[in-house]
C-alpha cells in the first residue's frame, strides 16, 4: 500500500518543484546585495561576497525609485477603491435585484470577456489624449473602471445571499441603498477582500497599459520604470535585481498575508460556472 518509495518520490518531486520556483526569487534577493559587477563573474556566485546596500542606495538616491514605488502604490490603491465602488453595486444588482433585461445585459457583458483588452488600447489612448489625460494617474486608472471580471466575481458570490434576509429588510421599510450598505456589504466582506486583493495585485503588476499611457519618469509605475532601467542599464545586474526586489516584494508580502482570499477569488472565478 504505502511504499516508502512513493513517500520519498512524491516529496522529492515536491521539494524539487519548490526549489525551482523559489530559487530565482532567492537569487534575485541575493544578487541585489552584491557589489557592482560581482554577479557577472564565472562561476556565477549564489551569495554575495560582502553584502552591501549600495544598489538600493543608488536606486533611492539617483533613480527616484521611491517616487515610482509611490506611484505604483497610489495607482493600485485607487484602482482597488474604484473597482470596489463600481463592481460591488453592479455585481449585487445582477445577482439580487430584479430589473428588466438583467440577464440579457449580463450575458452581453460576459461576451465582452472574449475581446482582448489590447483592442481598446489605441482608441483609448487617443480618447485620453483629447481629454489631456495622457501621462496622468487618471489615465492609468481608466481600464480598472470597466472590469467585467470584477462584476462577475461579485455576482457569483452575491448569488449565495439568501433572499429571505433581503425580503425581511424590505418589509421593514428599508430602501435599496440602505439594504445594500447595511445588510449586503457586510455579507460580501470575503469577496470584498478577494476583489481588493486581486485588483491591487493586478494593478500593481500591470505592464502594457501603464507602459503606453505613463511616459514621464515621474509618473511611471515600478514595472514600467524597471523595464526602462533594464534597457538603459543592461550591464548593471545587481542594480536591476534591487529594482526587481522592490517591485516584487510588496505584492509577495500582500499575497502571503491574504493567500486565502486570493485563492478563493481564483476558484470562484474559474471552477463554478
Amino acid at each position: 500500500m504505502r511504499r516508502p518509495l512513493s513517500y520519498l518520490g512524491v516529496n522529492i518531486f515536491l521539494a524539487l518543484a519548490a526549489l525551482a520556483t523559489l530559487f530565482p526569487l532567492a537569487w534575485m534577493v541575493s544578487a541585489s546585495f552584491m557589489t557592482a559587477g560581482e554577479a557577472s563573474t564565472y562561476p556565477p556566485p549564489m551569495l554575495p561576497h560582502a553584502a552591501t546596500l549600495a544598489n538600493y542606495r543608488l536606486l533611492f538616491a539617483e533613480h527616484g525609485i521611491v517616487r515610482q514605488a509611490g506611484n505604483s502604490l497610489f495607482i493600485s490603491l485607487l484602482a482597488t477603491g474604484l473597482s470596489l465602488s463600481f463592481n460591488l453595486s453592479a455585481g449585487y444588482a445582477f445577482a439580487k435585484l430584479r430589473f428588466k433585461g438583467r440577464e440579457r445585459v449580463f450575458r452581453l457583458l460576459l461576451g465582452a470577456l472574449v475581446v482582448p483588452a489590447q483592442v481598446t488600447m489605441m482608441p483609448l489612448f487617443l480618447m485620453l489624449k483629447e481629454m489631456r489625460l495622457v501621462n496622468t494617474y487618471v489615465g492609468a486608472l481608466v481600464p480598472w473602471l470597466a472590469s467585467v471580471f470584477g462584476i462577475y466575481l461579485v455576482r457569483q458570490y452575491a448569488l449565495t445571499i439568501p433572499d429571505e434576509i433581503l425580503e425581511a429588510a424590505r418589509m421593514d421599510g428599508a430602501g435599496e441603498l440602505r439594504i445594500f450598505v447595511l445588510v449586503v456589504l457586510p455579507l460580501l466582506k470575503p469577496i470584498v477582500v478577494t476583489l481588493a486583493v486581486l485588483t491591487f495585485l493586478g494593478s500593481w503588476n500591470d505592464f502594457m497599459w501603464p507602459l503606453i499611457v505613463l511616459t514621464d519618469h515621474h509618473v511611471q509605475t515600478l514595472p514600467v520604470a524597471l523595464a526602462a532601467l533594464s534597457r538603459e542599464h543592461v550591464q548593471d545586474v545587481e542594480l536591476m535585481m534591487a529594482g526587481a526586489v522592490i517591485t516584487v516584494l510588496p505584492v509577495l508580502l500582500l499575497f502571503l498575508l491574504l493567500q486565502r482570499y486570493y485563492m478563493q477569488g481564483l476558484l470562484v472565478g474559474s471552477v463554478k460556472g
Binding site: S40, F74, L77, L78, G81, L82, L84, S85, F125, L128, K129, R132, V134, N135, Y137, V138, V181, L182, V183, L185, P186, K189, V192, I212, V213, T215, D216, H217, H218, A228, R231, E232, V234, Q235
Partner: protein, 429 residues
C-alpha cells in the same frame, strides 16, 4: 448585523481615496515660479542637471526639470509625448529626427528668435547647421556634433604588425584578418553590433549615392553603392572578423574591449569620455581613434549630433530660448565637453585646451570635414531600423543574401507610401 462599523470604514476609505485624488490634481498645477521641462538623453541627460545649476542661479524664479531618457527609448518617448500632448518645453533631439518632428508640426521655427538672441550662427559648421534646417526654416540649434569614427587598440594592432590606422577598406580588411589570426577563434577583430545601424549607414554614405531616390519617395537599396557596402559589411561576419551579436549579448562593452575580445569599434564622441572613465589606467595609452577608412581612401561618415529644439506647444517659449542660449555659450559648451566628452557644436569652443590638445579628438576634427547627412525624411528612422533588422537576419542565416536589396526596397517603399501621397497632394493643391 455588524451594521454601521465595517461599511462606514469602507465608505470612508473610498472617500479618502477620492480626496487624495483631488489633492493630487490641484497640487499638480504649479503656481509658484516657472518650471521648464527639458528632456535629454544618455550621458547628456546625466550632466544636464549639473550644467544647468548656473542657469538657474542666473534666472531666479526659473526652475529646470530635467528628464533623462535612455537613447534606446528616446525617439519612441518623444513621439509618444507628441501623440499624448505631453511634450516638454525644450528637448535634445538627434538631428536626424528633426524632419520627422517638423512634419508633425511639433517644433517651433527658430529663425526669428535666434536673430534676436546672442546665439551666433556663424560660429557653427555649415554642414552641421544645415541638418537643422528643414524646408527652409531652422528648427534646432546644434548642441553637440557627432559622427562615427574608429576606436581601436593600438597595442593589439601593433602585435599584428601594423603601426597606423587603416586608410581604405582593403587595408582595413588586411589589418582585421591579421588581428584575427593573432587572437584566435575565441576572440574577434571588430565589434559590429547587430542592433546598430549607424556603422552600416556610415559605410553606405561613403559611396556618394543618395540613400533614397526621387526626393525621398523610394528606397535606393537596389544600387551598386549599396551592393558594395553590403558585401563589405557581410564579409566581416563571414570571415569571423566580427561576432554575430547584438549589444545585449555583450555583457559590458568596455570590459570586452579591455580584454581584447575585439580590437576595432565604430562609435561616437561620447565613447572618448566612457573609455577614459571605464577602461583601466594601464590601458589608457593603448586605445586611439582614427577617421573611417573609405573604399579608396579616407571616407565620409554620418553628419550626426544633437540639437536643442523648442516645442510648439510649450507655454514658456521665452524661457526655453534662454535655456537654449545658455547651453550654446562657448564657455558652457566647453564645460559640457569636459563633463561628457561630446564635441561642442560651436567652433570657438574647440579652443578649450583640453579639447585642442586631446589626441583622441583629432580623428573627430578630421572626420567632421567629411560628413554627409542621412535623408531628411521623417520615415528615415523607420527605414534604418528595417535595414538593421534585415541585416541581423542575414547575418544569423535567417534570410539569404540574394534578394536583400529587393526586400529592403520593398519595405522602404511601403513605409514611404504615405509620404508619396502627401507630397503628391501638396503638389496638386
Amino acid at each position: 448585523m455588524k451594521s454601521g462599523v465595517t461599511d462606514a470604514r469602507s465608505w470612508s476609505r473610498r472617500g479618502f481615496f477620492r480626496a487624495m485624488a483631488g489633492l493630487c490634481v490641484s497640487a499638480c498645477a504649479r503656481t509658484d515660479g516657472q518650471v521648464l521641462r527639458f528632456w535629454a538623453m544618455g550621458r547628456e541627460g546625466e550632466v544636464a542637471t549639473v550644467l544647468l545649476r548656473a542657469f538657474e542661479r542666473e534666472n531666479p524664479g526659473l526652475a529646470v526639470r530635467v528628464e533623462q531618457l535612455p537613447w534606446s527609448a528616446a525617439h519612441e518617448k518623444l513621439l509618444t509625448a507628441f501623440a499624448g500632448d505631453a511634450t516638454p518645453d525644450v528637448a535634445q533631439m538627434g538631428n536626424t529626427w528633426l524632419p520627422e518632428f517638423v512634419a508633425l508640426h511639433a517644433l517651433e521655427p527658430l529663425d526669428q528668435s535666434i536673430r534676436g538672441s546672442p546665439i551666433d550662427l556663424t560660429d557653427y559648421d555649415a554642414g552641421i547647421l544645415d541638418t537643422n534646417v528643414v524646408e527652409g526654416r531652422q528648427y534646432g540649434v546644434p548642441w553637440y556634433v557627432d559622427t562615427r569614427v574608429l576606436f581601436y587598440r593600438r597595442d593589439l594592432l601593433a602585435k599584428a604588425g601594423y603601426s597606423a590606422a587603416p586608410r581604405d577598406w582593403d587595408e582595413w580588411t588586411r589589418m582585421l584578418v591579421a588581428i584575427k589570426d593573432e587572437v584566435g577563434p575565441e576572440r574577434y577583430a571588430i565589434l559590429l553590433p547587430l542592433n546598430e545601424y549607424e556603422p552600416m549607414v556610415a559605410l553606405w554614405l561613403q559611396q556618394g549615392e543618395p540613400l533614397l531616390r526621387d526626393g525621398g519617395r523610394y528606397g535606393n537599396f537596389r544600387s551598386p553603392g549599396f551592393e558594395r557596402t553590403l558585401r563589405f559589411y557581410l564579409s566581416m561576419y563571414e570571415r569571423h572578423l566580427a561576432p554575430p551579436v547584438s549589444h545585449n549579448e555583450i555583457a559590458n562593452v568596455w570590459n570586452e574591449f579591455a580584454r581584447g575580445y575585439f580590437s576595432f569599434y565604430i562609435s561616437g564622441p561620447w565613447q572618448m569620455g566612457e573609455f577614459k572613465r571605464r577602461l583601466p589606467a594601464e590601458l589608457q595609452p593603448a586605445w586611439m581613434t582614427a577617421p573611417l577608412p573609405g573604399p579608396q581612401g579616407p571616407g565620409a561618415s554620418i553628419a550626426g549630433g544633437s540639437s536643442l529644439a523648442i516645442f510648439r506647444r510649450s507655454r514658456s517659449k521665452e524661457a526655453a530660448l534662454k535655456l537654449v542660449e545658455f547651453l550654446s555659450r562657448p564657455q558652457v559648451q566647453q564645460e559640457f565637453y569636459r563633463l561628457t566628452g561630446d564635441l561642442p557644436a560651436r567652433r570657438s569652443a574647440w579652443t578649450d585646451p583640453s579639447l585642442a590638445q586631446d589626441p583622441h579628438a583629432r580623428a573627430f576634427r578630421d572626420q567632421l570635414e567629411r560628413v554627409r547627412p542621412v535623408p531628411k525624411v521623417p520615415e528615415w528612422e523607420r527605414i534604418a531600423t528595417e535595414l538593421m533588422l534585415v541585416m541581423e537576419k542575414v547575418v544569423r542565416g535567417d534570410l539569404p543574401v540574394r534578394g536583400v536589396a529587393e526586400e529592403l526596397d520593398a519595405r522602404a517603399d511601403r513605409i514611404l507610401a504615405k509620404r508619396r501621397w502627401m507630397l503628391d497632394r501638396r503638389a496638386q493643391g
